[in-house]
Structure formats: C-alpha cells, structure tokens
C-alpha cells in the first residue's frame, strides 16, 4: 500500500466530511431546539445559493447579495415558524417531518419558478487546485471550506454562549418546559433557530455551489448529511463535525480499498450505502449516537 | 445429654401441623451439642415423612458464641428440608438481633413473638393463608435477595432483600425516591439488577427478559399509566391475554383464529364485568378519565391471569371514592383468584387496611418490614417519613 496515496485519500475524505458536516449542522440546530427533523434543509441550501447567485448575476455586489439572502433566510425562518410550525405544535414528529418535505417542494418550486431552471457557476475566488505538503497534495478549496466551517461553528458557539437569544436557545434545547416556565418565548426561539439554519444553509450552499455549480442537485446534499447525523447524534453540533469527519474518511477509504479487496472491480460505487451501514453498525452498539445522551428509560 | 432430654423438648401437634421445639433455658455449650440436638430433630421428623410448621420457644436459651454458626446452619437446613414456616417465642435480646439480621440477609420472616399464644395465633393465620391458596409451602413464593441497582453512578437500590408469600398482599412503601418503582421494575424484569438475585417459585429468574417474566405469571400496572393509548379498552385487555395465535390464521380470520378470538373475548368480557367497565368497551383509552384508565390497566394486567400482580400506585391521584373502589378490586382479586399481590402505595390508610405484609424502603435500602402494625410502630420508619435527620 502506497502510504502517500493512503494519506491523500484519508485527508481528502476528512475534508469532504467537513462539507457534509456543514449541511448536517443545519439539521442539528433545528432538531435541537424544536424536535423537528427538517428535511427541507437541502432545499434551503439550494434556495439560498440560487438566490445569491442570481442576485450577483444581476449585478449585485457580493456583500449586498449576501446580506440580502441572509435577510431573506431570516424572514423565511420567521415565516416558517408562523405559518408552518405554530399550527402544528405538539403534533407527532413524523407529521412534522412530512411537513418539512412539503416545505421542501414549496421552496424548490419557488426557487426554480422565480430564478429559472438554468444552472449557474459560482466563483467565490478560491480555485479548487491542489498544493503539495510533504508530497501529499491537498486542495486549497477544501482547506478554505474547512476554515469556513470552523468559523461557522465558532460564530454559532459565540452566539449560543454570549447572546441572550443564544442562551435562551440552549435553555430550550435542554428542557422545553423549564424554558417556558422561566419565560422564554418558545416561538421566538424557534423562529431564530430556523433563521440560523437558513444562515448555515447559505454558507453550505455557497461552498457546495462553488464546487458543483448552483443547481437543483444542491438539494441532494441533505442525503449526504443523514449518515453524519445518525453517527453524530441529532442534537450535537460537535457530533455533526466529528460524524462528518468519520463518515468522510471511512467512505473514501472504503470506496478505494474495500471494493477492490472483496473482489469487486475498483470503483464500485459503494459510497452511497456504506456510510449508512457504518452508521447502522455503530448505532447497534450505541443507539444514542456518538454524542447523544444515553436515555434511561423510565416508566 | 442424652436422647431423652431432646425427645422431651419436642412435641408434634398433628391437628395444626406444628412441631414445637422447646429451647427454653437450654444451653448449647458447643457445636457438637447443636449437632446432637438437630440430628435428633431430623431423625424424628424424617419418621413422620412430612413437613411441619415450627414453633420454637427460646426463652432463656443460651448459645455459646462458638456454636452460633452451627446453630444457624442447622436451623436453616431444617427450614429448607421440612419447614412450612417458623414462629419464634421470646428469644433473648441477642438472639433476637441475630435472627433479625439473618432474616434480613436471607429474606425470611423473623416472626418473633413475646408469648406462645401470640405465636400460636400467628401460626393459625399462616395456616389459614396457606389453605386459601391451596397446597404448597409458606416458603417465599417470590424472593428478592440482596438487590443492587445502579444507573451510571446513581445508586437506586442497595442490597434490598425481602420475600413475598403466596396469596398475600405485600406493600412496598417509602418516601419519594426511595426506590419503590425501581424495585417493581426489577421484579418485572424491566431493569436488570446490578447485583442480587430474584427467585420465583423456587427458581432463579434474575436474568429473564421482561416478556418472559410476564409469561411466568407476572403482570403489572404502572405509576404513570402505560396503556396502549391508541387502542380501545377491549383491545387493551385482549392484548393482555396470552393465547396461541398466528399470522396466517389471523389474516384469514377463519376457523381456529375466529373461534379462539371469540373464546378470548368471552373471557375478557368476564373481566370487564368484574371491573364494571362495560360502558367504555369500545372507547379509545387515551380519551378516558384517569380513574377509568387505571381500572383498564388493572384489567389488562388481570387478563393474563397472573400468579403475581405488581401494582405501582394503583390509587395515586384518585379521589376517596375511586380509591375505595380500587381497594375493593384489589382485595377481590386477591380473594377470588388467590393472586399474590405486590403493591406500591402512598396512602398509608389503604396500605394498612389491605396488606398482610409491609416492606419499607428509604434511599434505596430496606429500613423495615413486618406486619402493618409493626411497621407503623417502628421508630425508624417514623423517622424516615418525618424526614428527621439521624
């Protein structure tokens, strides 16, 4: 086995995993605060990126477009809380989950209806070119993406720790009832958290869009985030990051090494299910996920 | 010391199945003397070829320290080999303590009385109970031995032992957080104890999963009602019944499946009549008032025709009238079917009224047990309930 090649696969996988984590964080934020498994996160990624790129193509400067999309995502967050979540308080999780799929259709239709079905290039000024470190080539774009992800986690961290709203969010995540009893506006918190997820979607959309182009397929990024979520737990941002790293690295290593070692042709495309199997095997040992809290079943 | 000395101290009262052993003012000087006495007893009993209740008179009996171990071992052996139950009269303070601590460790009842008459009366009660529940021994039906239960670092139960006799109503009481529900959960197989063992009908069943425990003849209700909320009263109770069924015949609903369903339905209807819930048969239980839900839950538990019924606060949250109804049902169940009942209850009045035996837990440990009267008078229990620091 060529060690350099192995390391390249490993590092490439870890960095790819960060890209998955970016999407997964959006899921985690919403699930943590409102218990909703938001399948529309992929559609939000698409919606945000398409709106951004369409605005810049119409001549808007970078910062203005960014601010406009951010504002739009915040409005969207509040609108979703008002129109979708509020009537559905206390409904079963599965109903809420299906509602978010309906929401995904809605956002996809709006995005393509308003901006058209055309695909777009998105240049964010960082080329996806390799540079060499000790004989191992690493993509500068991937490093940039990882840096952005780190920054994003940092921003979210500061937001949760330092701001009043952030603390309220954490309180809600810990205990809805208790948070209510100390006077935290649950609805406000939900709206904020959806807006925050919108922000995360924008960041993920820009990075994914720069790599694959801004097109409908951005919605598929949600699928990449799912195994990360099972592994890392639905309620932990740290879990989403670590889960992403593990999934990214193992799926790449599996694709390169396992396929060929079990006698299949190389490049067998096991990447689509391998992460799920991995996560599944992991869950069997630890049903609460990597960072989820073990629940004592009481009765 | 010769055999005639021993023989004089032993008498058999056939009419009340009792062997009276008189240790009063007897001095066991060493282990050999213990052996000699018990060899004699064993011999005598073996000749009868049956089991006996023991009435043991201790007054003034002296046991040399070096003979204690022997005495305990022989006594235990006797109990296991041919005992139906033991009552003890007026042991010395030291003997009393020793018996109590052993009883605690090995989960038998101390049954210590001050006079022979009291002991005889208790013996009568024991016999009566055994008659009610039919043959068998008054040995522990359910025996919980040295149970420890930890959640992570939290100790929910520490070394709890007690026993439940067949056909009796045993109550577990204690302040909030004492570990009562944990105890029930351990018994029903829902929690696996960290340490300790559970015997049922003489067999070790510590490690059985909950559904197998249930199939042994255990049924229970829950503190926070755990009904199948989406189902009707009828379906809830039917689900509690255990009968042979299979997928294919159920799907076809022909012949055997249909007959069996109807037969079971008839059984369930009897329960419905017994608990007076005819009117809510077809109602989804989720929408029933609390008191009725409790009753349906009892019905579901009874549907399995359990040998042991575990009730976790069956009267919690009820008004006086509902409580009386429920207490009546519990007693009726015990009376009509001889079902052994273990019950957690907060209402001391109810506990004292209907229990044969009471076990008191506090902070995960057993602090007392005995008859309702004994427990009520126990200063340790009073302290625990009043929360006085000790």
């Amino acid at each position: 086995m060529d060690l350099n090649f192995f390391l390249e696969v490993l590092i490439g996988g870890l960095l790819a995993g960060i890209m998955y984590s970016l999407v997964a964080i959006g899921f985690v934020l919403i699930y943590k605060a409102s218990g909703v498994f938001n399948f529309a996160q992929g559609a939000m990624v698409f919606f945000a990126a398409l709106t951004y790129v369409s605005l810049t193509e119409r001549g808007w400067p970078f910062w203005l477009a960014l601010a406009a999309v951010l504002a739009l995502m915040i409005v969207l967050g509040f609108a979703i809380e008002r129109v979708v979540l509020r009537p559905l308080v206390n409904q079963p999780q599965i109903t809420l989950f299906m509602v978010t799929i309906g929401l995904a259709y809605f956002l996809e239709g709006v995005a393509q209806g308003v901006w058209g079905a055309q695909v777009h290039a998105l240049e964010i000024g960082i080329q996806d070119k390799p540079f060499s470190v000790a004989g191992i080539s690493v993509s500068q774009f991937d490093l940039f993406a990882s840096g952005t992800a780190a920054l994003l986690v940092l921003v979210l961290g500061v937001f949760f720790q330092k701001t009043k709203t952030g603390r309220a969010l954490r309180a809600v995540a810990d205990d809805h009832q208790a948070a209510l009893s100390v006077g935290i506006q649950l609805r406000y918190v939900w709206a904020v958290v959806w807006a925050a997820a919108g922000f995360v979607a924008l960041v993920a959309g820009l990075l994914w869009g720069a790599r694959t182009g801004v097109q409908f397929a951005l919605t598929f990024t949600a699928l990449k985030a799912l195994p990360v979520l099972i592994l890392g737990g639905f309620e932990s941002i740290l879990g989403a990051i670590v889960g992403g790293l593990i999934i990214g690295a193992t799926e790449k290593l599996a694709e390169v090494y396992i396929g060929s070692s079990i006698g299949l042709n190389i490049g067998t495309g096991i990447e689509n299910w391998f992460p799920y199997m991995l996560a599944l095997a992991f869950l069997l040992v630890r049903p609460e996920g990597l960072f989820g809290e073990k629940r004592i079943e009481r009765i | 010391m010769d055999q005639s000395t021993f023989a004089a101290r032993i008498s058999f009262h056939d009419s009340i199945e009792t062997m009276e052993v008189d240790f009063s003012r007897f001095a066991f000087a060493d282990a050999a003397m213990v052996d000699a006495f018990y060899d004699h007893i064993d011999q005598r009993v073996a000749a009868t070829g049956r089991r006996w209740y023991f009435l043991v008179l201790y007054e003034g009996c002296e046991i040399a320290p070096e003979a204690w171990e022997r005495f305990a071992a022989r006594g235990k052996h006797a109990n296991i080999s041919y005992g139906l139950g033991t009552v003890r009269v007026h042991p010395s303070e030291r003997t009393r303590e020793t018996i109590r601590s052993r009883a605690e460790r090995e989960t038998f009842r101390a049954n210590i009385f001050d006079t022979r008459d009291q002991a005889m009366f208790a013996l009568g009660e024991m016999r009566k109970r055994r008659e009610i529940i039919g043959a068998g021994t008054a040995d522990a039906y359910l025996r919980v031995q040295d149970i420890h239960l930890n959640f992570g670092g939290v100790k929910a139960l520490t070394g709890v032992s007690f026993q439940v006799n067949r056909g009796e109503i045993t109550s577990i009481i204690g302040p909030n957080g004492a570990g009562k529900t944990s105890m029930i959960n351990v018994i029903s197989g829902f929690y696996r104890p960290t340490r300790g063992r559970i015997f049922f009908d003489g067999a070790d069943r510590t490690h059985l999963p909950a559904h197998k425990v249930a199939r042994l003849g255990f049924a229970r209700t829950f503190q926070n009602i755990a009904l199948f909320k989406g189902m009707t009263t009828l379906d809830n109770i039917m689900a509690g019944r255990r009968f042979r069924h299979n997928l294919v015949t159920d799907a076809l609903y022909l012949g055997p499946a249909r007959r069996e369903e109807l037969r079971q339905r008839a059984e369930v209807e009897r329960l419905i009549d017994f608990l007076e819930i005819q009117a809510i048969r077809k109602k989804p239980v989720g929408r029933l008032p609390y008191g009725l839900q409790k009753r349906v839950e009892l019905a579901r538990a009874l549907a399995a025709q359990p040998k042991v019924l575990l009730l976790d606060e069956p009267m919690a949250g009820m008004n006086v009238e509902e409580k009386e109804d429920m207490a009546r049902f519990v007693l009726d169940v015990n009376d009509q079917w001889g079902t052994t009942i273990v019950l957690i209850e907060h209402d001391m009045g109810v506990v004292m009224d209907i229990s044969n035996h009471v076990v008191v837990l506090d902070h995960g440990a057993k602090i007392a047990e005995g008859t309702p009267a004994e427990v009520r008078a126990d200063p340790v229990v009073i302290r625990a309930y009043l929360g006085v620091a000790h």
Binding site: I94, F106, Y276 | A210, M231, L252
Partner: protein, 354 residues
C-alpha cells in the same frame, strides 16, 4: 339520517367481532366493492383504468404495507421503495428462471422474498428507535438500489439494467388490456386489504399496536417485542414487495432500479400520513390524494394560467403541491381517515347534534 346505530343490537360476540360491526358500513363497503368490480370496468376508459386507477391501487397497497409497519407498529421506515424494488425484481426472476412458474405464485414468492429482506433490515429496530431507525432504513433503500444496479444477473444482463415484465398469464388467460389488468390488481389488492384488516383486528394487530403505543408496557405484558417488530417488518415488506411486482407487471411494464428511489419511499410515506396513520382506509385515501393531486394540479394549471409560460406553471404546481401538504397537515394532522370518521360521527348525530 341513514347512518343510525339505533336498533342494531349485538346478541353475540361473533356479531360484535365482525369486520364491520355497523350495518351501514357493511353496506357501504359492499357497495364500493360492487362498484369497483362491476361498474368501474364498464364506465371508466383506458386512461382512467391504466393511468390512474391501477397506480392508485398499487400505491395504495404499498401504503398499506408501510402503514402496517409505521402506522400500526410505530416503526418509521424510509425503505419502502427498496422493498418494492425487491418484489419487482424477484417476480421477474422467478418467472424468467423457473419454467412454468404461475404468475400468482411468482407474485407470492416476490412478496416472501421482500419479506425476508425486510426482516433482515428490520433487525436493527431491536435496538434503534424513532428517527434513528428511519435513517437506518435508508441503508436498505440505498443498498438494495445498488445491488440491483450493480449485479446484472438481477436484470438478466439487460445493458440498461431495465427489466421488462413478461406477459401476465393465469390459467391460459392473458391479462393485457387495461381492464383485465385493473381487475387483476383490484382483486389482489382487495384480498390483501382484507387480510390486513383481519390482522389488524386480531391479536396480531393488537400486539403491533401495543408495541407502537407503549413498547415497554407491551413487553411487561408478555409481548415479545422483537418478534412482533420483525413480524411487522415481514408483513409490511411482503405487501410492498407485491406492490412493487404489480408496479412492474400491471402498470409500468418495464422498470429499472431507479424507478424505486427514495422519492418513492417519501411518496408512500405521504400517503399514510395524509391518509391517516394506522388505518386500512387511510392508506387508500392517502394514495388517492397523492396520486390524483399532482395530476389535477397539472391539468388545472394549464387552465388556470393559460398565458403563463409552462416553466412557471410547472413550478407553480410543485409550489402548490408542497403548500397543500403543509396546509393539510396543519389543518388535520391525523389525516383523511380521521376526517372520514368525524364525518361519520357527525352523520350519526345529524340532524340533532345534541
């Protein structure tokens, strides 16, 4: 007025344990069946039979299968389409490789194959619950899709990986017209729906629902949860497998593994959520809603926005579809079956509600 229980007394448990204890319900169901078997084939044209009713029935069957698992047993699954694919490809191979294989037997075996695979992928449900389980069933979805695409054997080495359904022949009769295919599908679906209803109202179904409502209580009631869950996985997958085979044989005629993607799983899940979780009727109401709504929207969009570009109308359809789903779930989260039930209760009291 007509929906009255007065005067209907049950004198035996047998009468009370009937599949439809209320007389009007019985009459209604019989009426629907007569209509479906006798009137529809005469009245409906090929378009309705071949392009709407057949897919409606088949997806209704799949929804029924998922409802057994998710609605009755409470195990959320996103692998429905995967099990449908197993059914379709199994039926194809049984008929292809076993000479003289009767169609109905092949259909049954396809269901059994799907059931076995379903049990296999249901095993994690022993330890995993809720959304973790849902996401875990995606492993089944993707793995099955991959295997069927990867290994040419399953499609008899068709270069496109597409299986072309053989003609349906039962006892020498060829089912090749929309009417005959409709009747065949209807017969199979009706029989399986009846079986599902029977299972649901006997001890098998009570065990499922007990596990759904309170698995811990079910266990201490003596119900073997593992067994119950696996039985539900098996029955559910059997239904999905048969639905998948019918999808290939009675509807599309040619399918590729990509006909059974995650989108299809979501579609079926929508059917039971919108139709009503844990009811047989709900599966079919939901299927009708989900099958008909996009078509109706498509037809209506052209009429509603005649001057607007088709780009926009197509997207509007999607937007409306999403919005209607959100709206509907917000208004009646318990689904169409609940509405139906409420309607019946109202009718029972009408015109004197007090």
């Amino acid at each position: 007025m007509f929906y009255r229980l007065a005067g209907q007394f049950k004198s035996s448990y047998a009468a009370d344990q009937q599949i439809f204890p209320i007389r009007q319900d019985r009459i209604f169901v019989i009426g629907v069946m007569v209509c479906a078997f006798l009137v529809v084939p005469v009245v409906a044209n090929d378009y309705w039979l071949g392009a709407i009713l057949i897919p409606f029935l088949i997806l209704g069957l799949a929804a029924l299968g998922l409802n057994i698992l998710t609605g009755y047993t409470g195990q959320l699954s996103l692998g429905t389409a995967g099990f449908m694919a197993v059914g379709a490809f199994a039926a194809f191979n049984f008929i292809l490789r076993v000479p003289g294989m009767p169609f109905l037997l092949a259909l049954f075996l396809a269901g059994v194959t799907a059931a076995l695979i379903g049990v296999l992928f249901g095993l994690p449900s022993v330890r995993i619950k809720g959304f973790y389980l849902a996401v875990a069933t995606l492993a089944a979805q993707f793995f099955i899709e991959w295997v069927l695409t990867k290994y040419g054997w399953f499609s008899n080495y068709n270069p496109s990986g597409v299986i072309t359904a053989q003609a349906i022949e039962i006892a020498g009769y060829r089912f090749d017209t929309p009417v005959s295919k409709y009747l065949l599908t209807l017969g199979i679906v009706a029989a399986l729906a009846l079986a599902a209803k029977n299972m649901a109202r006997t001890q098998t179904g009570r065990y499922w629902m007990a596990v759904r409502d309170m698995d811990l209580a079910a266990e201490v009631t003596g119900i073997d949860i593992v067994r119950t869950k696996l039985v539900a996985f098996a029955v559910s997958s059997f239904y999905c497998g048969v639905a998948g085979a019918l999808w290939a044989y009675a509807y599309l005629g040619a399918v590729e593994p990509q006909a059974f993607t995650l989108d299809r799983s979501f579609q079926v899940l929508f059917m039971i959520i919108i139709g009503g979780v844990g009811t047989v009727l709900g599966a079919f109401l939901g299927a009708a809603f989900i099958v008909l709504l996009p078509i109706a929207l498509n037809v209506a969009a052209h009429a509603l926005f005649p001057g607007v570009s088709t780009d926009l109308t197509s997207n509007l359809e999607l937007v409306l579809f999403g919005a209607l789903i959100v709206f509907f779930l917000a208004v009646e989260p318990h689904g169409l079956a609940r509405l139906w039930q409420i309607g019946k209760e109202k009718l029972r009291l009408w015109p004197f509600p007090h």
